[in-house]
């Protein structure tokens, strides 16, 4: 069998972004004298970029369908959050507010999806108008003012800051105190165990069905990823514990990973972007595929609204600006194709993490916030140009 020998060049191309991420992490670790790897930094990285992971997951589906994007997510995040905050400020039950935020996001997604899927309005125009309209709506709801959240339960559950972590049940049970947070370690340990077991099962099934994939390669990958997870968990445990926002991020990423790899609709998303004609000829209703993508990102915008409001302990009319760009950039840096049909959740995660690391690193080193935007733009452009040119060389 010769499928598994990969030349050095091909290896680099496939794992470019991972390598870039590693390089950048090391760079900033050195530049900040190790501060960027401190527990506090890791915690910040996760909680500040929660919304990026959530939105980028939804954006990935849209991009898969053919390079289509959703420019309205930032405004929808703000609008959904605004409604939720106003509801909670008026003593409405927290869970109703949460449902409202998710519901608004989903409804907007379905609405925009209608114009894009059925009427064939170009995606960027439909969502550009949404970007405008929903920013306006959110300002109407907020009356131009910031609205604070005081509902403790809400803040705890959705990650509103350093105190929002899963309490250390194990220590409480055993009566010990202090750090590290054992519950967090336990969660991390279980996660790693589950992951390793899944890999083992995968390998054994492959053996049974005679499918050939490099076993040492898979073992090494699993080990590396487990190591990274372990490191992160340890840092989090040393600080306060498992941040609640991470629960939601993990949930979303897990669901989208599942959708894109194991469901029929996931396949159809890739197929529509790869060759829409062929997909239609295979009996797939392409219209529903587009609709699904936009409905899902609408829902994610609602969730991102919840997370944003929790982290900031309130909502301000200018929140959400630029969110769509972060999400889009994460997907493209993570290897999604501007023409559709290619892109993975794992890539998107790397893209989002890379953007987050660069942002945080630049902050810690003290780079002017405006120059940070310049870097963001250049990184995005570089990733896309690299992608387009490497595809051209193959031809």
């Amino acid at each position: 069998m010769n499928e598994n020998k990969m030349s050095v060049g091909a290896f680099f191309q496939k794992y470019t972004m991972v390598i870039a991420l590693v390089v950048v992490v090391i760079f900033f670790a050195i530049a900040t004298g190790g501060n960027s790897l401190m527990p506090g930094s890791i915690n910040n990285l996760i909680s500040q970029n929660g919304y990026v992971f959530v939105l980028a997951a939804g954006m990935l589906l849209c991009i898969l369908t053919g390079g289509n994007i959703d420019l309205s997510v930032g405004s929808v995040v703000c609008f959904a959050a605004a409604v939720g905050c106003v509801l909670m400020a008026n003593k409405v039950n927290m869970w109703i507010a949460v449902l409202a935020m998710l519901g608004i996001g989903l409804a907007i997604g379905i609405f925009q999806g209608f114009w894009i899927a059925k009427v064939h309005v170009p995606a960027f125009i439909a969502t550009l108008s949404g970007m405008y309209a929903f920013r306006g709506f959110s300002n109407v709801v907020l009356g131009g003012f910031r609205v604070d959240i005081t509902n403790e339960q809400f803040l705890m559950l959705f990650g509103g800051g350093r105190d929002c972590y899963i309490p250390d049940f194990i220590r409480q049970w055993t009566g010990t105190t202090g750090k590290p947070n054992l519950t967090c370690l336990a969660i991390g340990g279980i996660a790693i165990l589950v992951y390793v077991l899944m890999t083992v099962r995968k390998i054994s099934v492959q053996k049974k069905l005679n499918i050939h994939q490099s076993i040492p390669g898979q073992i090494i990958t699993t080990a590396l990823i487990s190591g990274v997870i372990g490191f992160i968990i340890w840092q989090l445990a040393s600080l306060r514990g498992f941040p609640t926002v991470l629960i939601w991020i993990a949930l979303v990423l897990g669901i989208y990973q599942y959708i894109t790899t194991k469901t029929a609709i996931g396949r159809h998303l890739y197929a529509v972007g790869g060759n829409e004609k062929a997909t239609a000829l295979s009996g797939v209703k392409t219209r529903n595929v587009y609709w699904f993508a936009y409905a899902s990102i609408g829902l994610m915008a609602g969730l991102a609204g919840i997370l944003t409001a929790a982290r900031a302990k309130g909502i301000d009319p200018v929140y959400g600006e630029g969110y769509e760009m972060d999400a889009i950039a994460s997907c493209f840096i993570g290897g999604a194709s501007a023409y559709g049909g290619i892109g993975k959740v794992s890539g998107m995660i790397i893209g989002a993490v890379l953007m987050g690391v660069i942002n945080q690193g630049m902050n810690m080193v003290g780079v002017d916030s405006n120059l940070q935007k310049v870097v963001k733009g250049l990184v995005l452009l570089g990733a896309v140009v690299f992608d387009v040119m490497s595809k051209r060389q193959k031809r």
Binding site: I69, I125, A133, V140, N370, K373, V374, L378
Partner: protein, 399 residues
């Protein structure tokens, strides 16, 4: 003397329904204008409103011409123009205020920047084949940051041009200013000349076509066009005359709009833009250099952005960090509302102008009735969506 009859001209039948459809936006514009005049108890009809319309929307007309050319090639847009305006403002501020470069030299340098960006962007899109909206998205992200960083040199994050009267006078203000309420004769004369030209052109066209035996509209139609066109010009110029004179921005807008009107309707390169958007393969096989057209579209856009930047800088007499916000949205909206096809190959400068004016009237009107700024944004968003849907649906029936 024997008259050599080439052919008898056929007279186009006036079909009221298709007439309505073709001029839908214009009719809507008139109706909306009347609506707001009523709602504001006549304030919309004041001379100041007309002047405000021109000054506040100059950048839309200018950027709209550039965006039109990009959209013609196939629905492509430029998301970076607003941010680039901010950057140019910052650079202009540095040049004129901090580095003491003269006005003329600064203007040339800014244009050079515009050309440089345009060439880079054009090359990326046309030759490296990066999709336009991503290529310009990078600029959208980067330029505002860069501009704001440069403006950081001033504690207020803005640079004032108050000490550069030359610069201010070239791109803003009024020509031959007279006090409000007094009829400004230069302005009125321009209006009369303009109206006369329109009538002349329409009838010259008609007689030439009759002579050569081409199709003509019914006489009534042409007369109506003359009357309406002349009346519109006279009205606008009269109002401007009462508001103090010809706004300088009107001159720039006029030059740009007339220039692009000419290019799109009468030149070979303008024709190339339409066919590239209509059927790029057919264009290629007919000898059109499609890559070069794409390159020119974005180079052109960058240059027009530079001009729009200068009108913005002078209007606010300063370079600000949030200059240019939403400019791309406004330009795209003007085009789309004005009937420019979102898939390319169709659209006119006149349409864009009507679209831009309609949006401008809606903005001004909402402001004058004191509609909450946030509802204004909502309205803007839905107007854009409605225009595109209308465009798509009406085209569906044709094919």
């Amino acid at each position: 003397m024997e008259k050599s009859v080439v052919n008898q001209s056929t007279i186009r039948k006036a079909d009221p329904v298709s007439l309505l459809k073709k001029n839908a936006m214009l009719i809507i514009l008139v109706l909306v204008f009347i609506f707001f005049t009523v709602m504001t108890r006549g304030r919309m009809f004041n001379p100041n409103s007309f002047a405000a319309l021109i000054n506040q929307n100059a950048y839309v007309y200018i950027l709209g011409c550039g965006m039109l050319m990009c959209m013609l090639t196939g629905g492509n847009i430029d998301l970076s123009c607003g941010a680039f305006v901010c950057l140019l403002g910052a650079m202009g501020g540095m040049m004129m205020v901090y580095w003491g470069m003269g006005t003329a030299l600064s203007i040339v340098a800014l244009l050079a920047l515009g050309v440089a960006y345009g060439c880079g962007l054009g090359a990326l899109i046309a030759y490296v084949r990066v999709p336009p909206w991503i290529a310009t998205l990078a600029g959208y992200l980067a330029f505002r940051g860069l501009g704001t960083a440069i403006l950081g040199v001033s504690s207020t994050n803005s640079i004032s041009f108050n000490n550069n009267p030359d610069f201010l006078n070239i791109f803003s203000g009024t020509l031959f200013r007279t006090p409000e309420g007094e009829l400004n004769w230069p302005c009125m004369i321009v209006g009369i000349v303009g109206a006369a030209l329109v009538v002349l052109l329409i009838f010259k066209n008609r007689t030439t076509r009759l002579k050569k035996g081409y199709e003509v509209d019914q006489l009534g139609m042409d007369v109506a066009k003359c009357v309406l066109g002349a009346a519109a010009i006279l009205l606008v110029m009269f109002k401007l005359a009462m508001s103090g004179g010809i706004p300088t921005t009107l001159v720039w807008v006029g030059i740009v709009v007339l220039f692009y009107s000419f290019i799109t309707s009468k030149t070979t390169i303008g024709r190339h833009f339409y066919v590239v958007g209509g059927n790029i393969e057919a264009a290629r096989l007919s000898g059109v250099n499609t890559k070069r057209i794409m390159f020119i579209a974005y180079l052109n856009m960058a240059v027009l952005t530079t001009i729009a930047a200068m009108t913005t800088m002078t209007r606010f007499t300063a370079a600000n960090a949030d200059a240019g916000k939403n400019f791309e949205m406004d330009a795209i909206s003007a085009c789309v509302v004005g009937g420019v096809s979102a898939s390319g190959g169709a659209g006119t400068v006149l349409g864009m102008v009507i679209g831009a004016t309609l949006i401008g009237v809606i903005n001004l009107g909402m402001f004058q009735v004191n509609l909450d700024a946030n509802y204004q944004r909502v309205v803007k968003g839905f107007v854009l969506l409605a225009a595109v849907v209308f465009d798509i649906l009406s085209n569906k029936k044709k094919s």
